[in-house]
């Protein structure tokens, strides 16, 4: 059992933070790795990126968006409760070197893994330009944290309630047009965002890394559920990724595969998801 030592609501009813005691994982986890968790015996095992870790305290922090049955159930847990399973660090960690100027693009919940990624990139001597995107200002997260690890920070909201009105790709386009020398782009967020970012950087030959989120079962390379089409090759998201070269990814196949269980997910959600008489635990 893995104890929840801290829980915080970032956006009421939408996004929450959870710090979990998992000393073995805390000791070895790095930027770009993920964990898999299961709440209870009957639960699904789901993957989550890491927001932060504390090797001394032995904790790992995740931030999750409430979307379906499992994340709803997760939001019902309180500080002091425990998760049944917490597995990691999984996947390959993000390549961190001195590249020069790195543009980090986070869309929605995809912003989470940038906390350690930007921190490490900066530590390695890169100039970090971050672009955060959200539908509106209320859904924008981690502006302060990412800002602290970046040399420059841009915000884009769909409705213009914060930063620039428009998409993160508009900001990236402007940087490119302004002649900023970009050595690498890392984009994490909705599949469609990663697809457009990759399309934009390709003609300029800017190396672009995306972190993919296929559906997973075990996270250890055993089932092949998470397979992706990368440059005509089949790769497993959980062990070969989650980071891949955006110019090689078949995003359409990923989008399709992630909709595999739409009907079942809806059914699961209606079957008790989020109905746990839990609101008492809410901050």
């Amino acid at each position: 059992m893995y104890k929840i030592v801290k829980r915080e609501v970032l956006i009421e009813g939408d996004t929450e933070l959870m710090e979990v005691y998992a000393p073995r994982i805390a000791k070895r986890i790095n930027a770009g790795n993920f964990i898999m968790l299961r709440i209870s015996e009957k639960g699904e095992k789901i993957p989550m990126s890491i927001f932060d870790y504390d090797r001394k305290k032995g904790t790992v922090t995740i931030i999750f968006k409430i979307i379906g049955k499992t994340t709803k159930e997760l939001s019902c847990l309180k500080e002091g409760d425990s998760l049944l399973n917490f597995l990691g660090p999984l996947g390959k960690s993000t390549d961190i070197e001195k590249f020069g100027t790195v543009v980090c693009i986070g869309g929605g919940i995809g912003t989470v893994p940038f906390n350690p990624i930007c921190r490490d990139l900066k530590k390695a001597g890169n100039k970090v330009i971050s672009i955060l995107g959200a539908r509106n200002k209320d859904l924008l997260i981690l502006e302060k944290e990412i800002g602290n690890h970046s040399n420059e920070l841009y915000i884009a909201t769909d409705d213009g309630t914060k930063g620039q009105k428009g998409f993160v790709t508009d900001v990236l386009k402007k940087l490119i047009d302004d002649g900023v020398k970009i050595d690498r782009v890392i984009a994490i967020g909705p599949i469609i965002m990663m697809k457009f970012v990759s399309q934009m950087t390709k003609p300029y030959g800017i190396k672009t890394i995306v972190s993919l989120n296929p559906i997973m079962v075990d996270g250890t390379g055993m089932c092949g559920c998470c397979r992706l089409t990368i440059g005509n090759e089949t790769k497993f998201g959980c062990v070969d990724g989650p980071d891949f070269d955006g110019h090689l990814v078949d995003f359409d196949n990923l989008m399709l595969r992630n909709n595999r269980f739409l009907a079942e997910e809806k059914e699961a959600s209606e079957h008790g998801g989020g109905e746990c008489a839990c609101k008492k635990g809410k901050a």
Binding site: R24, L87, D218, T220, M222, C223, R227, E264, E265, E267
Partner: protein, 459 residues
């Protein structure tokens, strides 16, 4: 009285009924039948059966106890050599092992050794497991993986007085016994009981630890006096044909893990979903493929078809399982090789394009090589395709371990006692042989256990 030529029949659930549930297919002998069957044994002096068993269970001795009605002594005799009798009695391909060399075969059917072993273990589960523990040696051994090889090695080392800690990546123990082989063939309660017997020897199991990721072999070598690696062959193989990434195509591992391990057959009570569809085509004819096809049927498929490129004679599954599958209504399409999975334009499977095969000369596996018959293309309508053409060793541990020699096939290099290229590190089971059988994995765990004990004594 002359010896009965045939085995006593195993009572089974009615095929029509069982095709709709996950309860065990075979129901087990009652005491009277077990005694009668046991009496068929000739007690041959040369005991070919014992050498036919990879862990050398003293078959005539335990069978004699059963024939005398002394079931407690029978199971004790089996336990001297095997920690998983309830499992082996159910899933061992005994037709190729102990029973394959049984003298009775010359006169008819061999002794039903597997079923008698199962009977003795079922008796034990009802009456409790007992074992005396030796004095602790103070030595610590880490075992990676809780499949049959790891469990056997752990159990044996514990019985020698060593302190054993198993690290398992998944959230439950048993390896393939738990996540792969379905409930109707091997009830999970039975695997659980076998594991708890091993735990009662003092063995500890820690779940959610992916060795190579969560901890490294180097760290384990520092903390423990020896290490055994039994990580199995859990990497699905693909056919490499067009359409394999369409929705509706599963690897056998994904399909079985969703259903058995995450209990998708109880969805939505359990949260993990699985989608089966009306017509399911499973590719391959090993135990894994037959398990998938029978599982699909139980999950409501109207038609469950097995497509296999060779003929029935070459099919590697246990004969009994193919027989059971046929009874349940699984359709076998032999000499049929899928060439392409066809989509419906929305990314979902619509059918499988196959070509008919004929058998040529034997290949290096000793089986006759299948050769495509030109112009024999046919399409099978399907909404689900399960690829069950084999498993390779999972590279997560080996990739992250310095100095551990592996073969071209990705298996760990080990001698006949499981010794690897790293001092104090042993390996066995599917990770050294490639996908094989439960009893061979157990045999490897046993040999390694003995070698580790010798190594610890010499240290």
């Amino acid at each position: 009285m002359p010896v009965k030529k045939e085995k006593h029949k195993m009572p089974t659930q009615d095929p029509k009924k069982r095709a709709t549930n996950f309860n065990e297919v075979e129901l087990g002998y009652d005491e009277k039948t077990a005694i009668e069957e046991a009496k068929r044994c000739l007690h041959c002096v040369n005991k070919p059966c014992v050498s036919g068993c990879p862990v050398n269970i003293e078959i005539p001795s335990f069978v004699k106890f059963i024939s005398e009605g002394d079931f407690a002594s029978a199971i004790k005799k089996i336990r001297e050599k095997s920690d998983l009798p309830a499992v082996c009695g159910r899933v061992c391909p005994y037709e190729n092992q102990c029973e394959g060399v049984c003298t009775l075969k010359k006169m008819g059917e061999p002794l039903a050794i597997g079923k008698l072993e199962r009977f003795a273990s079922d008796y034990e589960r009802k009456h409790g497991f007992k074992c005396d523990l030796p004095r602790p040696t103070g030595k610590k051994v880490a075992v990676v993986g809780s499949g049959p090889s790891g469990l056997t090695c752990a159990g044996d080392l514990a019985k020698m007085g060593h302190s054993v800690h198993i690290f398992e990546a998944l959230h439950d123990g048993g390896g393939v016994l738990t996540y792969g082989i379905p409930e109707f063939r091997l009830p999970k309660e039975i695997v659980k009981t076998e594991i708890s017997c091993i735990k009662s020897l003092g063995v500890e199991i820690e779940y959610d630890v992916v060795v190579g990721k969560t901890v490294t072999i180097d760290e384990l070598r520092e903390e423990f006096d020896a290490v055994f690696i039994g990580t199995g062959a859990g990497l699905p193989s693909w056919m490499g044909i067009p359409g394999e990434n369409l929705n509706g195509v599963y690897s056998a591992n994904e399909f079985l893990t969703r259903v058995n391990f995450m209990k998708a057959y109880k969805f939505p009570e359990y949260s993990t979903p699985v989608r089966v569809g009306k017509i399911v085509v499973t590719v391959g004819a090993g135990n894994v493929a037959v398990d998938c096809a029978r599982t699909a049927l139980r999950l409501g498929a109207k038609k469950s078809i097995i497509a296999y490129r060779r003929s029935e004679k070459e099919a590697p599954a246990r004969i009994e399982e193919i027989h059971h599958a046929k009874e349940e209504g699984i359709e076998f399409k032999f000499l049929t090789q899928p060439m392409k999975i066809i989509g419906n334009g929305d990314g979902e499977v619509k059918g499988v394009e196959c070509v008919k095969m004929r058998l040529g000369e034997p290949d290096n596996s000793g089986r006759r090589r299948p050769i495509p018959i030109e112009g024999s293309t046919l399409t099978i309508d399907a909404d689900t395709v399960i690829v069950a053409i084999g498993e390779k060793p999972n590279p997560v541990l080996t990739e992250n371990t310095n100095g551990l020699k592996i073969t071209k096939k990705g298996t760990i290099e080990a001698d006949e006692n499981g010794k690897t290229s790293l001092k104090g590190v042993f390996a066995g089971g599917d990770i050294t042989t490639g996908a094989a059988t439960v009893i061979l994995a157990m045999g490897a765990g046993k040999k390694a256990g003995k070698a580790i004990d010798e190594y610890l004594k010499s240290k």
